[in-house]
Symmetry: C2
Subunit: 278 residues, 2 copies
């Protein structure tokens, strides 16, 4: 612990992990905007920082490259320890494969005393996470309503998780007829995974199962496609693509992918009854 | 199909499913606000409609009770067919156990020709879903970072899904060491389920596994608690509570619940390495 970096006398600092949502600034919550305005320092991945620059009013900026997540989280923590108000930005939702976890892991490893704002006064700094619209919700909205029933989110990145754990989870999800959201489906190094995932899921799901692919949701270069599980790996995907694999109930209607709410066919929502009612 | 209700000559109507996020209006995306402003009619569950009333400027309002989901979706569709601009509001994210699916199911059952705005001109009406911050992201933010690794979302409501399907999914999720998000954990009628879920999960997860309970996130009456799987069903929960059950890696640090990003202990984020680096 670096005592010399500790704040002295100006009251505790504040570290706010700010989710910026899928598209900026149309999907930035007013609460996130307030946190940016109140910050003295804004830290983040260079690409995201550049997107919010038009909103900044003289805040100090700490922008780092894609693989420097640890570096910018540590910088944000150090600045908050010095008593500053820091906003650490994270695309989508900071709590889903975003920056919230790493910041908290660093605080825990350093045994820092942290608490939400407006609670304890005797802290090293106050820490708050502001949620945002996750990439999975943005992708689902562009596809229609594919997530209307139970779903799983699985990252295909095997940098921090063994590939065996990832495939076991996908296998179990498919046994449970879950809708499956795939994060980080492919990188330049991992260009073989999507075919492996397709083959694995085909053991449980029909080749005609609808699959939605959404790249850069609500941003320049947005691309939305609906295909089938059998053809899933024919499409071009990258680390910015979210893939949603439907379950046994999912169907395509025009440009929309729909997972019905119910399995029972009772209540008002079975399609036969809908025909009568509507 | 009610041809008499069809729009005649004023150009196609528009139905926008507007997610209002967890707390209103701090978490309402600017894009959602624009859709509300542009609407001629706002439809929704009475409680949510009342929350947004201060934002309305003379729009017609269709407010219905909690179980009248079908009624208000059908009303929204009928109004859009008449050429009107309709905003159907949905709390949290409309695409996760929200209104987006039912609207699309109705359109499909009626064989209506629908498409996103700014695409095809020859439609019965244009339909768009605006995503919002889901309850699971709001709850996760208040708890810290419990969703930083692969997770499942499961609704415990057995109104439209057989209880056997629900428990089978929970069993598979637990086998996969997923973080588990429970929606609709209890109602007055279903007051026995949470104990059953605890017993089921205890077959795979330790009794000390952290569990977060969040009620009315970012709204009046917000309640955030962290407990353990063994004690989960001792807490008071209702239909507005989101429960997040950690996985084998999840830990509690002060008032925060943290699921680490990695299983490998390599990269920079193992706690041993963090101690050295930080």
């Amino acid at each position: 612990m670096q005592i010399s970096q500790r704040n002295s006398g100006r009251g505790p600092g504040r570290l706010t992990v700010v989710s910026t949502g899928p598209g900026f600034p149309e999907y930035l919550a007013p609460k996130a905007r307030v946190a940016l305005d109140a910050a003295q320092v804004v830290a983040g991945y260079r690409t995201y920082v550049d997107l919010i620059r038009p909103l900044l009013q003289g805040q100090e900026v700490v922008a780092t490259g894609m693989k420097a997540e640890m570096e910018r989280c540590r910088a944000a923590v150090d600045l908050a320890l010095k008593g500053r108000r820091v906003a650490l930005i994270s695309g989508g939702d900071a709590g889903i494969y975003g920056m919230a976890g790493l910041v908290l892991e660093i605080c825990a490893a350093r045994r820092l005393k942290i608490a939400p704002p407006d609670t304890e006064k005797e802290v090293d700094f106050h820490l708050e996470v502001i949620p945002g619209i996750p990439a999975l919700a943005a992708a689902a909205a562009l596809l229609g309503a594919p997530l209307m029933h139970d779903f799983v989110a699985v990252s295909l990145s095997d940098l921090l998780t063994p590939w065996e754990t990832i495939t076991r989870r996908l296998e179990l999800a498919a046994q449970g007829d879950f809708v499956i959201v795939l994060y980080n489906p492919q990188s330049k190094r991992r260009n073989w995974q999507l075919g492996a995932v397709r083959d694995l899921l085909l053991k449980h799901y029909a080749p005609e199962t609808p699959v939605g692919l959404v790249r850069r949701a609500m941003r320049a270069g947005q691309d939305v496609a609906i295909t089938t599980l059998g053809k899933m790996s024919d499409h071009e995907v990258d680390m910015q693509t979210i893939i949603i694999v439907g379950n046994s109930q999912t169907y395509v209607y025009g440009p929309y992918m729909i997972t019905p709410r119910g399995y029972l066919g009772k209540y008002e929502v079975s399609s036969e009854q809908l025909e009568k009612i509507c």
